[in-house]
């Protein structure tokens, strides 16, 4: 076997997983040395990213589906015996955004974690987590998916509890572990029930066999798997876990939990509903996905409005954005898929950026409590600027990326509503738009309470964070802007191939099992996909808009500056009452509207809802487990009835 053989791109999927696990192992051995540890971690994440990026051309652009059999144990006698990795455009899309997030988070960790104890363990777990997620999305074997889910759950739980002195870290980890294990148990039982029916664990073969042989047992398995992957995606009713875990974990891990773990759950749900059970033409099932998505969107954004903690607020937003993704994906139109995947990507980028900013604030001030912070923009200008980029992106202000994808989500929902004549989808558009403006509201709250407003005296000596952390944040910020400015390129080269992959189950099956297998195994059950299109209802060209805005801004600035706009009176060091804030004539003291008390006019009208929600999120692990079981029961009933 020549060396060139190793560089064949068919091996890259397995490399990208192996290198992370190998790095984790080596860091345990050699991690005592700081340089060695950083080098190993950096190498692992960058090689993994490189392998994934190298796959873009064959898989995304040329449309090849890579089926990689471990140890060359390929299909024999119509049965998949070996363990497979199967990479189609959908897997690669998720792998791409996961490895990007892992890469940036890794760079950020180098400086962010330097004051912590047990850093080698941190990197071990970090790499295990990353390897688990990439393994999950690249795997073509359903039991392997389960193993990877377990690996990433354990790593995430351990990392949540990593700073076990932090407020609520242990508690969050325990809750996450309990409900996560309920989810994992569901997944495992579902897998076994499928195995009992089909006697195979290969995803492609299951996809070919199961849809034609639906019975009560497979339906129950479907419900179990759905709830299991739902807990991994933290959709409602599992969102309190996400909030707890994000708030307690180190910021670099919050990036992974929000940007990566939730994506793996969404990936699982897509694979489950559209490949394994092929519910494309089932209106009622789409209703379930869209309903859960819309509820997640709205409930979590209102929960976020009521939060007092920076990271906890971001955590609730994270689930709110996942709601967008799920609702868009559930629409099951070409545009809907494209929009949902686009938004999933954007969510990873802007939420990663925001968590890194929160981490920077925590790193420098030691707190993320919105009621204590304020006025940091004078001390941390870079962080402020980058935070604003993230905040504008997530609240969907043009021309940042959040707008492009949200705009597509609205269109997809409205188009679907109009095509099917179902007024329910219309309300999805409305909820999505209202959620978007509520998102803006809560980020206005954060910018007022953390970065602008008055600077409390105890933060007079706060400094900007170090260059490495700023660099990591800049990477995300640049990606946010770029993906926002070139929406047509992103949809054409990334999301549309991935969306097409969802609609070509047959290719997925044939790539693994041999050409013609799908047709022979499924017979007349071959999925008939209604024609799908990516046509949009309106138009939006961010580049031209930005160009015009720049010209306009330039013109205004020139006029303003020539009119001595920048000739201002500023305070010198001498205290002068002229430069005090106007305070009704009083000597101004530190006073700021607390983060929780902003938007009183809104909250007052919704006070019953907010108090109800507050009581509901009781923080008791038994309640959260009960929600999970109730969700399982409801989904089971629903699926038994409609499928």
């Amino acid at each position: 076997m020549s060396f060139a053989n190793f560089l064949d791109y068919h091996h890259f999927p397995v490399y990208s997983i192996m290198v992370l696990f190998l790095g984790a192992f080596l860091i345990v051995l050699f991690g005592k040395n700081k340089f060695m540890r950083n080098l190993l971690a950096f190498l692992a994440v960058s090689i993994s990213l490189a392998c994934i990026v190298a796959l873009v051309k064959p898989v995304m652009l040329d449309g090849e589906i890579i089926a990689y059999w471990m140890g060359n144990r390929a299909v024999a006698g119509g049965y998949a015996i070996g363990i497979a990795l199967e990479v189609d455009a959908l897997s690669l899309f998720f792998a791409l955004l996961i490895s990007t997030a892992v890469f940036v988070s890794g760079i950020y960790s180098l400086q962010y974690m330097e004051h912590d104890n047990n850093v080698p363990e941190y990197y071990t777990l970090f790499l295990m987590l990353s390897g688990g997620v990439i393994g999950l999305v690249l795997s073509g074997d359903i039991f392997n998916m389960f193993i990877m889910v377990e690996i990433l759950t354990f790593a995430a739980v351990a990392l949540t509890a990593f700073r076990n002195k932090a407020h609520g870290a242990l508690e969050a980890a325990f809750k996450y572990l309990v409900v996560g294990c309920i989810g994992s148990t569901c997944i495992l039982v579902g897998i076994i029930m499928l195995y009992a029916q089909a006697h195979t664990l290969n995803f492609a073969q299951l996809s070919a066999v199961i849809p034609g042989n639906m019975n009560n047992a497979t339906k129950l398995a479907f419900a179990l798997l759905f709830v299991g992957f739902g807990t991994k995606a933290f959709i409602v009713p599992f969102h309190p876990l996400a909030a707890d875990a994000h708030g307690a974990a180190p910021a670099s891990i919050s990036v992974l939990i929000s940007g990566v773990l939730t994506k793996s759950g969404i990936y699982g749900l897509i694979r489950l509903t559209y490949f394994l059970f092929q519910t494309m033409n089932l209106g009622t099932f789409q209703f379930l996905l869209v309903f859960i998505g819309s509820v997640s969107m709205f409930v979590c954004v209102t929960m976020a409005l009521a939060q007092h903690d920076f990271k906890r607020l971001l955590a609730f937003h994270s689930i709110s954005q996942i709601g967008y993704v799920l609702a868009a994906v559930g629409l099951c139109t070409g545009l809907g898929f494209s929009a949902g995947l686009y938004h999933a990507m954007n969510h990873t980028l802007f939420k990663g950026l925001l968590f890194l900013c929160a981490g920077a604030v925590l790193h420098q001030t030691g707190t993320t409590n919105l009621d204590e912070l304020g006025g940091l923009s004078k001390k941390m200008p870079w962080t402020t600027g980058l935070f604003l980029v993230g905040a504008f992106s997530i609240s969907g202000l043009p021309p940042f990326n959040g707008f492009a994808s949200k705009w597509m989500v609205y269109q997809a929902a409205y188009q679907k509503a109009s095509e099917t004549g179902n007024i329910g989808f219309l309300f999805v558009t409305l909820i999505a738009l209202v959620t978007s403006v509520l998102t803006l509201a809560s980020f206005v709250k954060v910018s007022q309470s953390v970065f602008f407003g008055r600077l409390p005296a105890k933060y007079e000596n706060v400094k900007e964070v170090k260059g490495g952390m700023i660099f990591a944040m800049c990477l995300f910020a640049i990606l946010c802007v770029v993906t926002g400015l070139f929406p047509s390129a992103v949809t054409k080269y990334l999301t549309e191939p991935a969306a097409r992959a969802v609609f070509s189950v047959v290719n997925y099956i044939d790539a693994a099992m041999g050409t013609g297998y799908a047709a022979s195994a499924m017979g007349e059950n071959l999925p008939v996909v209604a024609s799908f299109n990516f046509n949009e209802l309106g138009y939006w060209s961010p580049i031209s808009w930005l160009l015009i805005l720049c010209i306009a801004l330039l013109a205004v600035t020139i006029v303003a500056v020539s009119g001595k706009y920048d000739k201002v009176s500023e305070s010198s060091e001498i205290a002068d009452s002229k430069y005090d804030l106007f305070f009704g004539g009083e000597k101004s003291v530190y006073s700021q509207v607390g983060g929780g008390d902003l938007f009183w006019g809104f909250k007052h009208n919704w006070r019953h809802y907010f108090s109800f929600m507050h009581d509901l999120h009781s923080g008791i692990v038994n309640d959260y487990s009960l929600w999970a079981i109730v969700a399982l029961a409801i989904v089971t009933l629903f699926i038994q009835i409609v499928l």
Partner: protein
Amino acid sequence: MMTIVLTALQYLGYILIFPGFLFCFVIGMLLCGIDRKIVARMQKRVGPPVLQPFYDFFKLCGKETIIPAAASKTTFLAAPLVGLAALVVLQLFIPIHGFSAFSGMADIIVILYLLLIPAMAAMLGGAASGSPYAGIGLSREMVTIIACELPLVMVLLAVGKVVGGDAVTFSFSKIANYQLANGSLITHASLIPAAIAMLLIIPGETGNHPFDTAEAETEICEGLLAEYSGAPLAVYKLTHCVKVLTLTSFFAALFLGGIGTGIVVVDALILVAICIVLTIVSISFVHAITARLKIEQVFKFYWTIVTGLALISLVLAWYGL
């Protein structure tokens, strides 16, 4: 080469003169002046001259700009300029009877979001000043935006449904063409509630009476603008005036299209006339007969009455009535 230069100059002219800055500046100020005059006349006062907003603007340009010690200077100074520029760019996308300076760049949903940018700039500028009054003003401004957003979205969706039929549309040019062919949308029975809702949204979006809780000068010292003085304040006042023009001409484009001759100058004059009428109806009359609402009343008003009107329209449009 010559043609490229000429095209560039033409677009530059669009941005700077018509329908860009100069047009917005003059007409926006004029609309506000007329508004103040009409309100005064309705209260049996003589009222300020129609050119009063110009005087205010130039006076403020000549005043000293004070940066409070607690403020972040860059954001404090840049926010007004960004807001103004974004708003003027927004005006460029709104078609004037078939004439659109930059067609095919932004549809009505984009306009909805672009409208947030000036508000966002004002909020960030206010927050950057560090004033506690600005904190309250910011809170109220945001609640007003949330309040207006829901009915506004419904209005836009209803229009999109009526124009597109089964193939719903968000496209401005399709709306304009539909009205050229079939007459103004306001004659469409199902859209009359939506038009009324939109008329009620205009004062809320511009922050005029009785929805000016965010800038209530008597209770929270002008809220967001509490610490602004001199030229930045002048820019804010101008932004407010331009916003009146933008929203009224947005209304005209949505509901009163198809009125015009095809000659750009004449159409522009017709648009100005329409905007004046709309300003008088939706801003001045409402201003003169109401007192300022409390912020939770603003929210309640928009999410019940106005949303109800818009919802009626949406449902009617949905079932093709």
